[in-house]
């Protein structure tokens, strides 16, 4: 029973992390049609920025996380303006451009920090002990921060004029432009929000899991799984699917073992796609 509740709580914590990463990923795709292969790179850069801020600059961890979020957001903004903006209409080009950027990022990290994992520890140790279960404080804190960030994103996207404009661009780009919504201003900001969210997640999670140059690859894979399940472009879908994936992964890792658990998850994705190719909340793409 102990492990059942503990595992469930860890699954929820994983779910918030995946939700933060995947919301950003699906936001970029929904609004711009860009599949950002560098998304995992921004996650791991967030971790390294926070690591540098705490170790080299001696900043407190909270400030380091904020700095990492801002830094990855600014980097995302600049990258979108310079490399992605011009090629937004060509999906293959943007995929390969972001793939190239990811490779440059990981090589840059290896050159700057070395290939070995960095010693980056979460500042709060210990576990919260409840009736019949325990959860590390780190997971609880990450869960709380990620949940707050998700709430913030939801408010931005569904309650502000800017968010309405973003959703209009995602729904029907040409009509949104005809209504006066400028893609040249919306796209870089949307990209920055998404990469900032990835950086925030990286700064929070890498002290718990691992901070190493190729850590972004597994994150990208999770983002793929979550958005496939949730439906590309659907923020609600990404949220629901993220929690589903997090909980399934936690339970299958504990009760089936590492590789079998991951395999079970992948098989589940494939089965769901057999029945519903557009994902749980995605719309059937029109061919024309």
């Amino acid at each position: 029973m102990d492990s059942l509740i503990s595992t469930g709580l860890i699954g929820l914590s994983l779910g918030t992390q995946y939700a933060l990463i995947s919301i950003g990923f699906t936001l970029i795709f929904g609004i711009m049609g860009v599949v950002n292969f560098a998304h995992g790179g921004f996650y791991i850069l967030g971790g390294y920025f926070a690591f540098t801020a705490t170790t080299a600059l001696g900043m407190p961890y909270v400030a380091a996380v904020v700095l990492a979020t801002l830094a990855t957001a600014v980097l995302g903004y600049v990258i979108e303006m310079i490399f992605v903006e011009k090629y937004v209409a060509d999906h293959l080009a943007t995929m390969l451009i972001t793939l190239g950027i990811y490779q440059i990022m990981t090589t840059g990290i290896v050159l700057s920090y070395g290939a070995e994992p960095a010693e980056f520890r979460f500042p709060v140790a210990g576990s919260f002990r409840g009736p019949g279960f325990y959860v590390p404080y780190a997971n609880l804190i990450v869960f709380a921060v990620c949940a707050a960030a998700i709430a913030g994103v939801y408010y931005l996207v569904f309650r502000t004029r800017y968010g309405i404009a973003l959703r209009a661009m995602a729904d029907d780009g040409p009509v949104a432009r005809a209504q006066g919504i400028p893609p040249a201003k919306m796209f870089p900001m949307a990209f920055a929000i998404a990469t900032g969210l990835a950086g925030l997640t990286g700064a929070l999670v890498t002290p718990i899991l691992a901070l190493e140059p190729h850590g972004g690859e597994s994150v990208l894979l999770k983002a793929f799984i979550v958005v496939i399940l949730g439906g590309l472009g659907s923020i609600t879908g990404a949220m629901v699917a993220a929690f589903g994936v997090g909980v399934i992964e936690a339970y299958s890792s504990v009760y089936l073992g590492g590789s079998k658990g991951a395999l079970a998850l992948f098989v589940l994705v494939v089965l769901i796609l057999l029945v519903r190719p557009q994902g749980l909340f995605g719309t059937v793409a029109r061919k024309a």
Binding site: F29, V35, F83, K86, Y87, H91, L92, A93, M95, L96, I97, L99, G100, I101, Y102, Q103, I104, T106, T107, G108, V110, L111, A115, E217, L221, F224, I225, V227, I228, L232, S259, K260, A262, L263, F266, V267, V269, V270, L273, L274, P277, Q278, A285, K287, A288
Partner: protein, 332 residues
């Protein structure tokens, strides 16, 4: 039909021709560096050709490492079991097994649209890696299958270093010829799917059929590349088929030019040679590939060969306007 069909066919033939001289390297030199470059190039070209087959339909498939693993492991198991080490049998198995796997997989993934297809093919690599780890009795798990006997042909042992390289190049030539046959036989159908799938369907092109043909052919060609790798190393190991290795094959295809087989061959040879020339900077190779991909996609989306072809076309059209004028006057 593309007005450049004849020219593109010639460029495809040149792509095959570019690979042929690699046969001479192991026969005329014992230099380890040159032989290493040759077998790396042969395997790289084979894998990049598998990417090319799908690109002919405008599809970017990440399944190449997974199908390489199917082909490589199938050949390794057959050779190690003692049933046969005949080169032709091993090549056939390494082509057929991935092709057979691709048929049911294709029915699942090929009906997915655009990016869903790409995501699933990406995930498929990960699924295969996990399957390899979870089936140690069959595949050796994380240790792989080592001590794979070299191929033989009519009693001749092809295990000497020079002959191993020759076999790798021969397999590459076969893979290239299969790619040529498939992409030429169904060139019109593949091109129509690439240009406008909806229009192709409305004109009666059975899109699912040709996508499946391309997917199966790509799988088979990948399998041949996998067999080359396993035969060269005498080992089938999961790390040889890591999912991110597909980035290299994609880079070869796009840097060289994805429109013709010559581009694929040029891109593969160039990047493999560059990686070896700058071997002191091997840890930077991923970043350099990234920079090259960026540069190509932003400045020369048709790649090196495509870019040169465009320049030649531009030059020719500039030197033709005077010749075209009298024809127009006559028509008026």
């Amino acid at each position: 039909m593309s007005p450049h069909r004849h020219r593109d066919f010639k460029l495809d033939i040149w792509g095959v021709a570019l690979v042929l001289p690699l046969l001479l390297v192991p026969l005329f030199t014992t230099s380890p560096l040159l032989n290493s470059l040759t077998y790396q190039a042969a395997i790289g070209v084979s894998a990049a050709m598998a990417v090319y087959v799908m690109l002919r339909m405008g599809l970017l498939s990440f399944t190449v490492p997974a199908f390489m693993a199917f082909g490589g492991y199938a050949a390794a198991m057959l050779a190690k079991s003692g049933v046969t080490t005949n080169l032709l049998a091993l090549m056939a198995v390494s082509f057929i097994v991935p092709a057979l796997v691709a048929i049911p997989l294709g029915t699942l993934v090929l009906r997915l649209k655009g990016v869903y297809f790409i995501f699933i093919t990406f995930i498929f690599n990960e699924i295969l890696q996990l399957i390899l780890f979870e089936t140690p009795t069959l595949t050796g798990g994380s240790d792989g299958i080592s001590g794979v006997p070299p191929a033989t042909l009519f009693g001749i042992d092809l295990g000497k270093p020079a002959l191993l390289v020759v076999v790798t190049v021969v397999v590459c030539i076969v893979a290239t010829l299969i790619t040529l046959a498939v992409t030429q036989r169904w060139r019109a159908e593949f091109t129509s799917i690439e240009e406008n799938e909806t229009l192709a369907e409305s004109l009666g092109v059975a899109v699912w059929k040709y996508r499946t043909i391309g997917f199966v052919a790509s799988a088979g060609v990948s399998g041949l590349a996998g067999f080359s790798l396993v035969n060269m190393l005498s080992t089938a190991h999961p790390s040889s088929f890591a999912s991110w290795s597909v980035n290299s094959y994609i880079a070869y295809a796009f840097v060289g030019g994805r429109g013709t087989m010559l581009g694929i061959a040029v891109g593969s040879l160039l990047l493999i040679v560059m990686t070896n020339v700058f071997s002191a900077y091997a840890h930077l190779s991923a970043g350099l590939y990234g920079i090259l991909l960026l540069a190509v996609m932003m400045a020369a989306p048709s790649g090196l060969v495509g870019g040169v072809v465009q320049l030649v076309d531009k030059f020719r059209s500039r030197s033709r306007p005077a010749a075209a004028a009298p024809v127009q006057e006559k028509q008026a």
